[in-house]
Point group: C2
Chain length 228, copies 2
Amino acid sequence: MERSGISDTQGMEVRIERQSLHDAILNRLRDMIIEGHLPPGSRLNEGQIGAQLGVSRTPLREAIKFLASEGLVELVPTRGAVVKKFGAKEVLDMIEVLRMLEQHAGARACEIASDEAIAEIRALHDEMLACYRRQDRLAYYKLNQAIHTGIVALADNGSLSEVHARLQTRLKRIRFVGHEGPEKWANAVAEHEEMIAALEARDADRLAAILGKHLTQAWERVKDGLDA
Amino acid sequence: MERSGISDTQGMEVRIERQSLHDAILNRLRDMIIEGHLPPGSRLNEGQIGAQLGVSRTPLREAIKFLASEGLVELVPTRGAVVKKFGAKEVLDMIEVLRMLEQHAGARACEIASDEAIAEIRALHDEMLACYRRQDRLAYYKLNQAIHTGIVALADNGSLSEVHARLQTRLKRIRFVGHEGPEKWANAVAEHEEMIAALEARDADRLAAILGKHLTQAWERVKDGLDA
DNA sequence: GTTCTGAACTCTGTATACAGCATACTTGAT
DNA sequence: ATCAAGTATGCTGTATACAGAGTTCAGAAC
């Protein structure tokens, strides 16, 4: 893009700390995509991004390949990577799979989760409610994700959690845009309340129903603003 | 600069054709892992493999990162990549997810698949039967995979197909080892027969049942020979 | 004015070079 | 003989160099 990448304050210097550089770059890139800095369909300019992150093209390209396998970017033969663009059908498909996974996980969670583990989810939920009251959308959003991830984790199935996380990551960018109005937001909060209640009651059917409904609503919130 | 013609001690002549080198390396690596050339837990020596494939370390490393995101190898901080080792629980978890996906896909397929598409699956099945008769395990194995992939594809959900393929790939190596005896093999063939019948009858419940049973059997066939 | 062509520039794809860490090996002392 | 310490070696992680494909823009021809 023609945006002057390093324009901001002089200290735009990004210090990559001594965790794996690979992971650091990966997180940076994911953020850039999710937050819309790299809009869907745009090419990833290795030289520019590398300079911006203060690393050479080599580890950057490796991270990009990783993202490609994750499905966040697409590899185009002599043109490098472009940020993957999801059409309506694709998003709907992903949500359908997500529904399947969450419902299954929820049912399993009702069977095997410990009371303590459920209490932790409840704690996250309460925290999220606090964010809702003070209208802190970002924190709310993150806790929301954490709760869904947490419920899936209750099923104690690594593969299930992994697949769920992968799909959730792809949808993050979509959802990030979805700033629902006050009434819809309130609705989502109410759904969450019922979700936790069903979980605490270990009522698998009710939990599955509300999880399914919740995802349908999520779809309703984002489906406009997608092409095709 | 070296020519990419490689004569190797094992006679594994490798000639990379003019598709994307990236994809070519990827396929080679997957094969090496699935076929057990690179046993679980072993490190991937970039220098050696690169020489064997006739490519430098750069594109090879990129392919490895891709595989890491696919979950076939694991990245260990200063030790490179090691072939991922799946324990019994992990395999069981994957099979559980696979069951969920296939059953869902099967049900959906019964609703929306065209007669022609189902006929194509039937054709694959017949072909597989021929392989069974002449005891061609490898061809049987490949058609087997293709049939399951095909049934999932009938659901017309890209995300579902993708996730399924990913899990299937991971299990390939496990299943590759599983050389079941004649009676079990006959059993598996019978299950497939019933599977196709249920699909043609568009009997979602029966199809789900048999798909579930089939995967349970698959687990029975491979569960010994796994640690932990 | 339009279009074709070619040259310069940009960016990707691949190879090579280099530094740092980890492990194995050797050598010397107890 | 055992153990410790230093050294050598191998491999990974990162940067840089180079070649080729693609794109853009300008200039010439019509």
